[in-house]
Symmetry: C2
Subunit: 256 residues, 2 copies
């Protein structure tokens, strides 16, 4: 591979990510917040849908020492970065619990099973679905565009697949934009219950920039709207104490 | 009327409510928060769907001196309390801008028009739809039960009616439980856009107990999740400064 890349530390150096340099969707706070939705004591098999170079999945493997993680990624280019991430020496303590599956999360039925995503074969799924940035002029290049173009219908496809591969009482966590709340909740309906939403605000007085949603397969319990996560204290560009702990794998988002 | 009643001050005595004593749904903070979603400068015609004794509608009339308010209530018993509320001497400065319509908000088409709810005849609608408390053993009596039984389908009926009676670019505000987020957003879809949600938390570290939602008829703008309203500061049973201002008609919820 000749594409330029970077090797970036996460969780204060507990794992590293090999990812495209300035191209594609570069992993950051979104992936760390998503991973933080998984309980610290989680010890099962987890699928990271649309894993990219592996940031969220590795963050789960890093914080949950008994977890096993499958990085599911369609793009050959991004999955090749995931391979290099797992081969990197700084990740050798995690690599034994992490594998890569090149597959389209949007498949259904026998095609999905044939692609390696068997029914009820996971205890948890996490996803950071690509979101629609077609009008976002700040993201011009093609790889980034592929990662960010998200029709509302993709929630339906991805959550349908999550409902198939996650066992009853297993979990789902996802991160999305607040604008996607309606299609997202519609896609959860009848599949996942006991939904818990954490709004994420850059600052306490500004609208939410993300929502993190957790839910339980085949639960019929109602929705809970939890207190928000505030990334920055007033008049500071530094992360708040809580956001820093979440970003660095020192705390889970839901306190469990 | 021989039923026991109370006469309660709202907005620090700027208006009063004649309502059943210990029976039915007694108005309080929910109605004040709902009314606070209407911009202070609102000067049009507003429908209060399911108005009860008139708390939310009168709170709008109290804070918005150029508004005209129609209290829409199906229950003859509750609308009789609304009549006594308007006849009460302490409300004489508002009564000229407030009227009562005994009608079923859930009607559609010609029946709705015949009931007095003409198409595009309002600039704003507000609603505090009765919510499902069938399993809530703390609300045993019949009037309260009627006010609180809310199937998800009622959001569809009430919001459908709001979409009919509110003119294009007019507004809708409602208060609901977080559990109702999905049916509520589904009912808004294609009818109201530019939805803004304010979660209401009793305390900063506890899940939301209510959501207040505002939206614009025929807008296609996306959803915004605003910072929460916290009712009580830590270790205090008193209202927070902001909650007290909203409860007493001194501030709007969205700052407009």
């Amino acid at each position: 591979m000749t594409a330029p890349f970077t090797i970036d530390a996460f969780h204060r150096g507990n794992f590293w990510l090999v990812q495209p340099d300035g191209k594609g969707h570069r992993a950051g706070m979104d992936a760390m917040m998503l991973a933080a939705a998984v309980p610290s004591g989680f010890s099962g098999r987890l699928a990271d849908f649309g894993a990219g170079a592996g940031a969220a999945g590795l963050a789960v493997a890093s914080r949950c020492p008994k977890s096993r993680v499958v990085l599911v990624e369609l793009s050959r280019e991004m999955s090749s970065f995931a391979e290099r991430t797992l081969a990197y020496s700084g990740n050798s303590h995690l690599a034994g619990r992490v594998s890569i599956l090149v597959a389209d999360v949007g498949l259904a039925g026998k095609e999905r099973v044939a692609a390696g995503l068997a029914d009820s074969s996971f205890d948890y799924a996490i996803m950071n679905p690509p979101f629609n940035a077609r009008h976002d002029r700040a993201t011009p290049d093609l790889l980034k565009q592929q990662a960010h173009i998200m029709e509302d219908g993709l929630f339906e496809l991805w959550i349908r697949s999550a409902a198939a591969v996650v066992r009853p009482r297993g979990g789902l966590a996802l991160i999305a934009r607040p604008q996607s709340l309606q299609p997202l909740l519609a896609a959860l309906g009848g599949r996942f219950g006991n939904a818990e939403i954490v709004p994420v605000h850059a600052r306490a007085d500004a609208p939410a920039i993300r929502i993190i949603v957790r839910a339980v397969r085949a639960s019929r319990a109602g929705l809970t709207l939890r207190p928000p996560l505030i990334l920055h204290d007033a008049s500071s560009d530094l992360f708040s104490v809580r956001a820093d702990a979440i970003n660095n794998g020192r705390a889970s988002l839901f306190g469990d």
